[in-house]
Symmetry: C2
Subunit: 309 residues, 2 copies
């Protein structure tokens, strides 16, 4: 444990407990030396309720991982960068593209590592899918991302607030895979956003996009899916069909399974973060957030039935 990099975990909620803490413990690069949270605590670490107090008290901890909801991320990331810390950000990196782009610029000036993570990019099937697609001609892409919000986001009221993105909170995971496996810009052409009459964010979205070469890309996002959950991306190419299933963890080419194994998305995130810090680089790709912003920008709004979560 002696050569692990001490790290502060900020925002000790569901995602920190379910993913970050076990993945850091299971890896070889970091140790959680401090927790910062209004309510949560990390066992075996020094705990703070105030972020500025942590920054002042522990100048020895050079790395912070921000797992808070996105509304407070900009101010925290800016303060951490100003204090010379390397920063990892959960997805989405910020509530607006402006905040995200400003952070990239601030981190570059300060010479620290900024890592805007997209955990789905570390799903098992994604890298082999990218490799396989690299010399194929893409004819069309279909994304179907349908899950039960009550099951995956219990009590997370912020997802329905402006900046919480509604069904784009899971949908951005699909968009992060899409923009990883397909080179070049993906452009939104049309979108329909379904807002429950009692909610400020969409519960479903249908997006028509295209690649720069003109291949059609469609995405269907829905948060009202009970029973089996669907997280599929299907790509038709000149050499047959590629399908990523279960959020990218299963890969099928021509119907034949290629890759499978236990999930290690967050393990992959922390391995990459350690490499970025060592090589003094940043990784901030905001294309998934840009596609969400474009979908809102050109979206047609439909009001749908009241929804209780």
């Amino acid at each position: 444990m002696a050569d692990r990099i001490p790290l502060a975990l900020v925002g000790i909620g569901k995602i920190a407990r379910d993913q970050h803490i076990p993945s850091i413990a299971g890896g070889n690069d970091f140790v959680v030396a401090a927790g910062v949270s209004r309510h949560g605590k990390v066992e075996g670490a020094e705990n703070f309720t105030d972020f500025d107090a942590f920054l002042a008290a522990r100048p020895d901890i050079k790395v912070v991982s921000l797992c808070t909801p996105p509304e407070v991320r900009f101010d925290m990331a800016k303060a951490a960068i100003a204090a010379g810390r390397h920063v990892l950000m959960e997805k989405p990196p910020a509530t607006t593209l402006g905040e995200a782009e400003a952070l990239s610029e601030i981190a570059a000036k300060a010479g620290v590592t900024l890592f805007a993570t997209w955990h789905s990019r570390f799903a098992l099937g994604v890298e082999p899918a990218k490799q396989w697609l690299s010399d194929k001609v893409i004819q069309s892409i279909s994304i179907v991302w349908k899950e039960d919000v009550r099951r995956w986001h219990p009590g997370q009221a912020w997802i329905w607030e402006p900046g919480g993105f509604g069904v784009f909170d899971p949908g951005i995971n699909a968009l992060s895979i899409l923009t990883e496996i397909v080179p070049g810009h993906i452009m939104v052409q049309k979108s329909t956003l379904e807002f429950p009459e009692n909610k400020k964010q969409p519960i479903a979205a249908s997006i028509a996009m295209r690649t720069v070469e003109g291949a059609p890309v469609t995405a269907e996002f829905d948060w009202r899916q009970e029973g089996p959950q669907t997280w599929d991306i299907t790509v038709q190419t000149n050499e047959g069909e590629l399908r990523l299933s279960k959020g990218g963890s299963e890969l099928y080419i021509g119907g034949k399974e290629q890759a499978s194994g236990p999930d290690r998305e967050y393990a992959g995130i922390y391995e990459r973060f350690a490499k970025l810090i060592r090589s003094r680089q940043s990784d901030t790709d905001y294309q998934p957030l840009r596609i969400v912003a474009d979908s809102f920008l050109c979206g047609e709004r439909k009001v749908v039935a009241h929804f209780e979560d």
Copy 2:
């Protein structure tokens, strides 16, 4: 006239007639050698109704100026760039950030000049305002942009469609001045968008932003202003107040008028375009469009009264 660069004007509507044709004629750099439009024509030029037919028929015309509504701009710009033409785009450059960013990349690869214009940046007061602000501390900024849509956009149905941006069509002019005179990113924090019950785009918007340094920036856009029209940007600094009035054409510092004179926004655009072509450079700053996208992304929607234009 002999050494003027022949140019094709594409989309012969209100803005082409009111601004582009007289500004090109009044300048020294270009001559309108062709017009491309389904309905309009340019006197004294060869006229086409089809853009691809123009590209094929006139390889001698190396420069195109796209004055069409933004929905068709991406495909035209892409085709023009592929055919080796230098391209000027009216504002807004595209219907989404994705299209705009893709065009920058395509033009850079092709080695042609792409100029995403923001005409308000060429208003008389803007450059001296930028100079004066460059060594001041900005404390706050207030934008008030209120005009009568019936007067300025008669019969332009596309402004109410998705991609037309509604009141952000004039509002983006203010945002283009804002991002020119203030260095660094401007970040949207909150916005309220007012949609008439019979329209797909907002008729009014209220946006709370901030500079990276934390100074508050507010914008009030309204398309229901009858009587006197208001296009003002007021900046409070550590050395007093700067105010740009009448869309940037009048500049006041500490209440004292600094600059005034006849409008030459589009003359400035074509002078700059000629310089960009000669130096083989592009100018594509999409910050104004990014602020619009962010305002939709985190916007709260309010439905307001039916509106007939």
